[in-house]
């Protein structure tokens, strides 16, 4: 079975051109690949019916997002008392936003958690991508003792569930004094077997052996070859791995939940979870508007990131892990 994807096009980056031109080209290519609907013997009506289905599912997808945007402008009383899908006076968006900077309920401040999350996501994500790039290059372009065995172990690690590895990590941390240490959060994030697998596949497709050999004959060292020749060709693959790793750290809940007891180290996910727990136990703390506003500010950066970096997750890279 050869359900291989069209190899991610490395040249795409070099061809550059303005963003507009690139978009136009992508759109044209997309239209090129599509067989006109009429050829299937379909009526025009089918297109309308399918579009309506898409609209319905899009509404389902956007309902919670719309709710959180609308309710970020409300007071606690209005969140409970007014229609959930329309605005109500007073308009408290800016007040709610300001409250994110304050230490409510002695839980710690949202803005601090946001900074922590960004720190963990950037260090963990960039680190994981770097290690995956090195390892993927090593596995794709070198044969050394044990390279096959090690690679199979990495593939095997794809099967190890996060839910089962987190408690073991905690037990080791208790011995290694990594409880309540930011390194306890960042270091395990560096291990991305999926990233290594994706990078190996990507390098296999986009960094020609001949180019590396030519550079060797010219006397370039391996480190120089990696940074000057291979790395620029890997950029689209690196972006995908970076995106997936950053999202992975940004979303991680279980690990920080059990290794941090100091509120000042919490990432957003754990802080928001704590607020939601306290909102039910202490009724009048006005925590609900904060949870809603906090939720909005948590998801906004990632959604924007995804919209900007669309072409990296659009392509065949995601499938790289699947097509084998």
């Amino acid at each position: 079975m050869t359900a291989t994807v069209a190899p991610p096009d490395a040249a795409e980056v070099d061809l550059a051109g303005s963003r507009k031109e690139r978009r136009k080209r992508e759109r044209l290519e997309e239209r090129d690949g599509v067989i006109p609907v009429q050829l299937y013997g379909l009526k025009r009506g089918t297109v309308s019916v399918m579009t309506i289905c898409c609209v319905l599912f899009a509404i389902f997808t956007l309902v919670p997002i719309a709710w959180i945007i609308i309710n970020s402008t409300k007071t606690q009383a209005n969140i409970f008392g007014t229609f959930g899908f329309w605005f109500a006076r007073p308009f408290e968006f800016f007040h709610n936003f300001r409250m994110l900077f304050e230490d409510v309920d002695d839980d710690g401040t949202y803005i601090n958690w946001f900074g922590n999350t960004a720190l963990y996501a950037v260090l963990g994500g960039v680190g994981a991508t770097a290690l995956a790039a090195f390892a993927g290059y090593g596995f794709a372009r070198f044969q050394f003792r044990g390279s096959k065995v090690f690679f199979y172990i990495v593939i095997g690690a794809l099967l190890v569930p996060i839910g089962a590895i987190t408690l073991p990590l905690y037990l080791v941390y208790a011995k290694a004094h990594l409880i309540n240490s930011i390194w306890g959060m960042i270091l395990p994030s560096l291990v991305s077997p999926v990233g290594v697998y994706l990078m190996r596949t990507y390098i296999g497709l986009s960094v020609p052996r001949e180019l590396i050999d030519a550079a060797r004959i010219d006397g370039a060292g391996e480190t120089r070859i990696f940074f000057k020749i291979a790395l620029p060709l890997m950029v689209p693959g690196l972006m995908t791995v970076l995106l997936l790793s950053v999202v992975g750290v940004w979303n991680n809940y279980f690990l920080p939940l059990i290794i941090f007891s100091n509120n000042n180290l919490f990432p957003l996910t754990v802080g928001m979870g704590l607020w939601s727990q306290h909102a039910t136990t202490s009724g009048d703390q006005n925590l609900y508007p904060l949870i809603v506003m906090g939720g909005l500010v948590t998801i906004a950066p990632l959604i924007i990131l995804f919209l900007i970096l669309q072409r990296y997750w659009r392509g065949g890279m995601l499938l790289g892990s699947i097509a084998n």
Partner: protein, 316 residues
């Protein structure tokens, strides 16, 4: 690293070719370089995956007692887990969850992936982007948002339900909690799965489809008999990834418990049970044994599915 500058490299020819047998000294140097590239990852992998797993297995063989401290107890933790209904009721619940959520989600995902691939829906690009948005929302935040929507006293969905004639619907009651979580999971993951299926469908060669059209094959047959078999590996892989995810259900029930106290028991899902046993009850050894059992259950499922694929000649 040799300091020589690179003179303009010769243009690479397209395609792959094995490099010739190498000079032994050269090869040994290459050998070391290869390991050097891989070793930072392998070191982190060893320290943060292999060591913890090994240590958890070691810890799972001990029991801490109030009197006498921690003593070696062999497999007694395991027999306690395997023999009690507490662990298995959670396992059964997540299996039911997966058995409903995964097929429903994949059918919806395949439906939209096909629609986008055939171009039978207008604005396909736009909808693909919209559908993918939930992937960027942390699970904690999606559980919080849906918790607000489902909340029994003020949640908008409760009003919606009573407007439709279903009065006093409690989406977070013990009977509706699992279906509600299924809806949340479908919301979270359909777009991602659909995108992967779409990419797989795109790679079906155009001439095969054109040949089918020339043979006057009806559309449903093209979809089910031509396209579906060609993306089967992608579907099998998605079933497998989603199953691993479903068995680890944890965040949604933990967060929804804040909106509707008492519905989520301590052992509602296996990971929740591990969390409550080890972190809240400080029974680390028992928790470690549970983590090992859960890991083994998941690995067993994965290996079975891989063997199945290999038997079908799909796994290389």
């Amino acid at each position: 690293m040799s300091g020589t500058a690179i003179s303009a490299p010769t243009r690479p020819t397209q395609g792959e070719s094995r490099s010739q047998p190498r000079h032994s000294a050269f090869a040994r140097r290459r050998d070391r370089r290869g390991s050097a590239f891989v070793s930072p990852f392998l070191l982190a992998f060893l320290l943060f995956m292999i060591v913890p797993l090994g240590y958890a297995i070691y810890e799972s063989l001990f029991t801490s007692r109030l009197i006498g401290g921690t003593v070696f107890s062999g497999f007694s933790n395991y027999s306690q887990i395997l023999g009690s209904g507490m662990f298995w009721s959670g396992v059964i619940r997540v299996i039911i969850f997966g058995a409903i959520q995964i097929p429903v989600m994949l059918i919806i995902a395949f439906f939209f992936a096909t629609a986008f691939d055939l171009g039978v829906a207008r604005f396909g690009r736009f909808f693909r982007t919209i559908f993918f948005i939930p992937f960027a929302v942390p699970v904690v935040v999606s559980a919080l948002m849906w918790g607000f929507l489902f909340e029994p006293s003020y949640g908008p969905f409760v009003h919606l339900a009573s407007a439709l004639g279903f009065h006093n619907t409690n989406f977070l009651s013990s009977s509706l909690m699992l279906p509600s979580i299924i809806v949340i999971a479908i919301w979270e993951w359909t777009g991602y799965n659909s995108l992967i299926l779409y990419t797989a469908l795109k790679s079906v060669p155009r001439d095969i489809v054109e040949a089918a059209i020339l043979d006057d094959t009806p559309l449903w047959k093209i979809i089910l008999k031509v396209k579906l078999p060609m993306v089967r590996p992608a579907i099998v892989m998605l079933i497998f990834l989603n199953t691993i995810g479903a068995l680890q259900l944890f965040v949604e029930p933990l967060i929804l418990n804040n909106y509707s106290a008492g519905v989520i028991s301590l052992n509602w899902t296996p990971v929740l049970y591990i969390y409550n046993t080890s972190i809240n009850d400080a029974q680390y050894n028992l928790g470690a044994a549970m983590a090992v059992v859960l890991g083994l259950v998941i690995v067993a499922i994965s290996v079975t599915s891989l063997l199945f694929r290999r038997r079908k000649g799909e796994f290389k």
